[in-house]
């Protein structure tokens, strides 16, 4: 069956360190993968999209990698800050073409301690 797995439910790190979150998927062949941030009681907010032909993408302190052979994406936050504390979700399109829909992992709750 098709699955999206974010291996860690929670990740605690010290301020200034790099946070690395993992997203694995099985039985999909997504054209792209996305990462979102969700704060408590709010809807997710889009952060980054990476396409299957891109190995890496960066946006300010964020970096995403996409390995279609390993079926894995890594999400990095460098020089982490307490304000980065939130739940981070990966998402991908389940089906190809115009009829696709967006499926999310369960998320990893990141806590950055000062």
């Amino acid at each position: 069956s098709q699955k999206i797995e974010q291996n860690s439910e929670a990740l605690n790190i010290q301020e200034g360190k790099t946070a690395t979150l993992t997203c694995n998927y099985t039985n999909y062949s997504p054209a792209y993968l996305q990462w979102y941030r969700q704060d408590p009681g709010r809807g997710p907010v889009f952060l980054l999209l990476i396409r299957e032909n891109e190995k890496e993408k960066r946006k300010e302190r964020l970096k995403v990698t996409f390995d279609t052979t390993l079926k894995q994406s890594l999400f990095h936050i460098t020089a982490s800050q307490p304000a980065d504390s939130a739940t981070y979700l990966c998402a991908l399109q389940r089906d190809g073409g115009s009829q696709g829909n967006l499926i999310f992992g369960k998320g990893t709750k990141l806590s950055v301690k000062p």
């Binding site: 792209y32 996305q34 979102y36 009681g41 709010r42 809807g43 997710p44 907010v45 889009f46 999209l49 979700l89 998402a91 399109q93 115009s98 009829q99 696709g100 829909n101 967006l102 499926i103 999310f104 992992g105 369960k106 998320g107």
Partner: protein
């Protein structure tokens, strides 16, 4: 610019009562529309998605239904709510299956 409106923000309903949650999108045409539910401590569960007026795909069989009477309007309904319907409901839109934009969500408590 595009905006998404979802209401109400909070709702407390008795078991067996009907439900209607509405979501509208402004500033775009023919978006893909989604209803998700997030139970406490759990991930986002896709309930329904729509790629056009009157076109609804259901992901999880349950006592909820969705309708898209207009291009930018998406409605989530139930004839009789169950306790298990409690959760955080989120409407979202995307264009060509790229990034999704979410509404503020509705916290539904069935009592």
């Amino acid at each position: 610019s595009q905006t998404i409106h979802q209401w109400p923000a909070t709702l407390v309903q008795p078991v067996g009562s009907p439900l209607s949650l509405e979501c509208t999108v402004e500033g775009t045409s023919n978006p893909n529309l989604y209803w998700y539910r997030q139970a406490a401590g759990r991930g986002l569960q896709l309930l329904f998605y729509s790629v056009g007026i009157g076109q609804i795909s259901s992901e999880v069989p349950q006592n909820l239904s969705a309708s898209r009477p207009q291009d930018r309007q998406f409605i989530l309904s139930s004839k009789k709510l169950l306790l298990s319907d409690s959760g955080f409901y989120l409407c979202a839109w995307s264009f060509r299956q790229l990034e999704a934009f979410f509404g503020q969500g509705t916290r539904l408590t069935v009592v």
